[in-house]
Amino acid sequence: MPPRDQETALWWARIRAAGPQLVAAGTPVPPGLLRLAEPGGTQVWFTTDIPNAGGPATLDELDLPRPVLEMPNDTARVLAACVRCCWADPAGPLWPGVAVPSGLVVSVFRAMTGRDGIVAHRAVVGALRRLSWPGWLLWDTTAAVVRLGPRVAAWNQAELSTLRELWRSMPAPGPLPAGQDDVPGPEAGDDAAEVDA
């Protein structure tokens, strides 16, 4: 394999193994990768761009099992709540969106589910953790803020149209309740419902 192709293969494998890669803005874009400017201008994300027919959605058409996700419904709700909060203007591009206090995500999740207090917090913390490991979200636990992750930039136009409709039908982020402007970090408020055994 020519060195250039070998280098491309290594980039694709790197992203498969460790998620989208944050690199210096001047780095040449390897073939087939999406380049996403990180706010600030000095860094960019590289992520893979797989043709739709080669992506995971094809598993449904082939009647093959999908990867197993724990608490799939709450995880999807929290991702939807993050899209609602971080996509400030759905007429514009989804990426990079805006960073919001994670308490805003909790407020949308509460409005969607009718759950309150510690129950909603636990569900949101568990889902934020599951979504931030693979790069769907960027979750700064110290500052308690959430952003959309670079993976969302690979969603295609049809998916974005669906998301726009969903955005409009979802409850708007509410005001942050006093003293609840963040969610506990991953070490606190562990989602006991998921613990094995």
Binding site: M1, D5, T8, A9, L10, W12, A13, R14, R16, A17, A18, G19, P31, G32, L34, R35, L36, A37, P39, T48, D49, I50, P51, A53, G54, G55, P56, T58, L59, E61, L62, D63, L64, P65, R66, P67, V68, L69, E70, G92, P93, W95, P96, R130, W133, P134, A153, A154, D190, E194, V195, D196, A197
Partner: protein, 225 residues
């Protein structure tokens, strides 16, 4: 707002392989790519023409090669994909992986209890890392110095990644949870399975004649890494 991400219309990596195929073969190869790359389990070849047909399978492997992957046979009639051996070596050398030291330690404990120990007793045949005896949660707690909360979090992450799987509770109340290696271990190439086996021997019995033989082979020119 920053620029919109743009994807070129003709995909530079995929088209290099797909452009040479007929419309039908192209669809079949791309579907098989989706199946082996994203399915959590090996894909029976009866389900996909591009896995059954040797010519299309070669195109699929070429496509996978271009993104650092390769086709891996599982048993007689199923396929999955994994990293090319040279690419895996490059990733490992550069530290490109998503598992923390704790997660890796817990995974190794499951592999030792479920596969390595039973195989040394002769009860787990072959070289696969996916079958074996369940590892009880209590064994993991006793065998490691990882705190219980950290251990549970590591097991959750490993399950989410398909690297361990929970064994359905056997009859009998009060049993602790039990784990087996997960379906992602099918993605190890033959060379990767051998390296894992050798690394465990070197770690578990460094003074054994077997470990000495492995070290000698690694040290010799042309020996496996």
């Amino acid at each position: 707002m920053s620029e919109m991400p743009t994807a070129s219309p003709a995909h530079p990596v995929f088209e290099a392989v797909l452009a040479e195929l007929s419309e039908r073969h192209r669809d079949e190869v791309l579907a098989a790519f989706a199946a082996v790359e994203h399915s959590p389990e090996p894909v029976p070849e009866v389900q996909l023409a591009a896995l059954r047909d040797a010519t299309m399978r070669r195109s699929l492997d070429t496509l996978l090669n271009r993104v650092g992957r390769t086709l891996i046979p599982v048993g007689e009639q199923a396929w999955t994909s994994g990293y090319r051996d040279d690419i895996a070596a490059g990733l490992a050398a550069a530290g490109h992986h998503s598992l923390s030291a704790t997660d890796r330690a817990v995974l190794v404990l499951v592999l030792i209890h479920s596969v390595a120990v039973p195989r040394s007793r002769g009860t787990v045949p072959g070289d696969a890392w996916t079958s074996g005896e369940p590892t009880m949660l209590a064994e993991l707690q006793n065998a490691s110095r990882v705190q219980p909360a950290e251990l549970r979090a590591a097991l959750q992450r490993l399950r989410a990644a398909g690297l361990v799987q929970l064994v359905p509770q056997r009859a009998g109340a009060g049993q602790s949870a039990a784990y087996l290696p997960g379906p992602q271990l099918h993605r190890l190439s033959a060379a990767a399975r051998r390296r894992l086996q050798e690394a465990l021997i070197l770690a578990a019995a460094p003074a054994s004649p077997l470990a000495a033989a492995i070290r000698a082979r690694h040290a010799s020119p042309g020996g496996s890494r």
